[in-house]
């Protein structure tokens, strides 16, 4: 069974890139261009296995999404992978405090995203992306 993911990012090109990578990893991917769209999608289709979240977005930011998830008892443990352009120590610390285990800075390597998503509790699937370590 493939894992189901939602990518939340206002940058359409960044969403497409992440989608290509994750679909290549055999995952079922949905996209949301902002926080409102994301929560609408949650209501409509239910919780995914992992959320891939950008932090800086117009309107309610990724932090708002993270806070809302963490304060919702039913979704407090929903795995979140942060993917952002902010290579910032304070941001990383704040994300860690909010229970985020994986914080990726753009540009990232495809295997980094797949690793992060997989170790967030997705079932193992075939890996077309050779690791380059």
């Amino acid at each position: 069974l493939a894992g189901r993911l939602i990518i939340v990012d206002d940058d359409a090109e960044a969403r497409t890139l992440a989608r290509k990578i994750l679909e290549g990893g055999g995952m079922d991917v949905e996209e949301a261009a902002g926080s409102q769209e994301f929560f609408a999608l949650l209501e409509r289709t239910g919780d995914p296995d992992v959320v891939v979240l950008d932090l800086t977005m117009p309107g309610p930011s990724g932090w708002t999404v993270l806070n809302k998830l963490r304060t919702d008892a039913a979704r407090a443990r929903l795995p979140v992978v942060i993917v952002t352009s902010h290579d910032d120590v304070e941001f990383k610390a704040a994300a860690k405090k909010a229970g985020v285990k994986h914080y990726l800075t753009k540009p990232y390597q495809p295997w980094q995203l797949l690793d992060a998503v997989r170790s967030s509790g997705l079932p193992p699937t075939s890996d077309p992306w050779a690791r380059r370590r």
């Binding site: 940058d11 359409a12 960044a14 497409t16 890139l17 290509k20 800086t56 117009p58 753009k106 495809p110």
Partner: protein
């Protein structure tokens, strides 16, 4: 700068006067052989430092008179003019100290104000640089990743990756152009009489998906023609980004009202309008609305605000009657145009 409210000035003045009286009484009680002149400076200096200059002058007079009263009680002079002369010299001394101290205080306060302003500007510059770095990093990261995927031969259809490279590079370029535009707009405008109808028409020609209609006759305004056109371009683009219903063209109205102090140019749309918290920050750089379906640089309205400021005016937002947004710019009449 640093002037206390009148009530506090009066109450401190009383405390300082009390101080002068205490020094006067001690001066009188200790007799003619001990000089206490310098101690009068304590209440004077205290008041000037925490109160006002004029209070310092009043206290100098009061101190000189007190000292004169004490002096006249203990010393007999061949002529009454001697103690008056001595008191005047004392007064000059008190006054000099009070004025110098007031000057030092003002100078220090001014420097502190300048330092605070510098620190604020420095912080703003840091924030600006952080924003630019982040906003440039995103599209360039897309390009780097798309190229990496093309190289790895696992991207599948190359068209998608090329499209990402194309769009992201265009976005980075647009950001750089807007940054340059923002810097240029803040410079002194080269004013001439600008036909607003023409400026709006020419701006609209450069943008797809916008219909512009003018409300009433548009005045000519005395302003920088390039900047005016840029303002229209940005406001129209803003309407296309945020006020366009799916697939339809954005409709904007342009109007201009002449006031004694300048011209108010208004650009209205029938989009969803702005939330109250968005209204506060919409003209700040790098602020993007949450409702947009395309990716702006977040600099368009900041350029409009900078243009208005460069013309001695300002830009502001109002909810439009009947729904939508109304962006207004005040262009102040320059002294030469009156």
């Amino acid at each position: 700068l640093g002037t206390p409210p009148l009530g506090r000035e009066v109450s401190r003045g009383f405390i300082a006067l009390l101080g002068v009286c205490v020094v006067g009484i001690v001066d009188a009680l200790t007799g003619r052989w001990l000089s206490f002149g310098i101690f009068y400076l304590i209440p004077i200096a205290w008041f000037v430092w925490h109160g006002t200059r004029r209070g310092g002058i009043v206290l100098s007079i009061v101190s000189a008179v007190t000292w004169y009263a004490v002096d006249a009680r203990f010393n007999r002079y061949p002529s009454p003019l001697y103690p008056i002369w001595n008191a005047s010299v004392r007064f000059g001394f008190f006054l000099l100290v009070a004025l110098l101290l007031a000057r030092v205080r003002t100078q220090l306060e001014r420097e502190r104000g300048q330092n605070n302003e510098l620190a604020r500007l420095n912080q703003a510059l840091d924030d600006y640089a952080t924003h630019v770095a982040h906003d440039l990093r995103s599209p360039i990261a897309n390009v780097v990743m798309a190229v990496g995927m093309l190289r790895s031969d696992r991207a599948g259809d190359a068209t998608d990756m090329l499209e990402i490279i194309d769009k992201s590079a265009a976005r980075a370029l647009q950001l750089i152009e807007d940054l340059l535009e923002l810097a240029k707009t803040s410079a002194t405008p080269q004013r001439e009489w600008v036909d607003l109808t023409e400026a709006a028409r020419s701006a609209a020609e450069g943008i797809d998906d916008v219909d512009v209609c003018t409300e009433g006759a548009l005045h000519s305004v005395f302003a920088d023609p390039v900047i005016m056109r840029q303002c229209f371009t940005n406001l129209f683009r803003n309407a296309v980004t945020y006020a366009r219903k799916d697939g339809l063209r954005a409709e904007v109205t342009v109007s201009c009202e002449e006031r004694p102090d300048g011209w108010v140019i208004s650009v209205g749309d029938r989009g969803p309008g702005l939330d109250p918290d968005e209204q506060q920050v919409v003209f700040e750089p790098f602020v993007r609305g949450g409702n947009g379906d395309s990716h702006g640089t977040g600099l368009g309205l900041a350029i409009v605000a900078a243009a208005a400021a460069a013309h001695g005016g300002r830009a502001w937002y109002e909810p439009r009657v009947g729904g939508g947004s109304m962006f207004r710019i005040l262009i102040a009449k320059s002294p030469v145009s009156i």
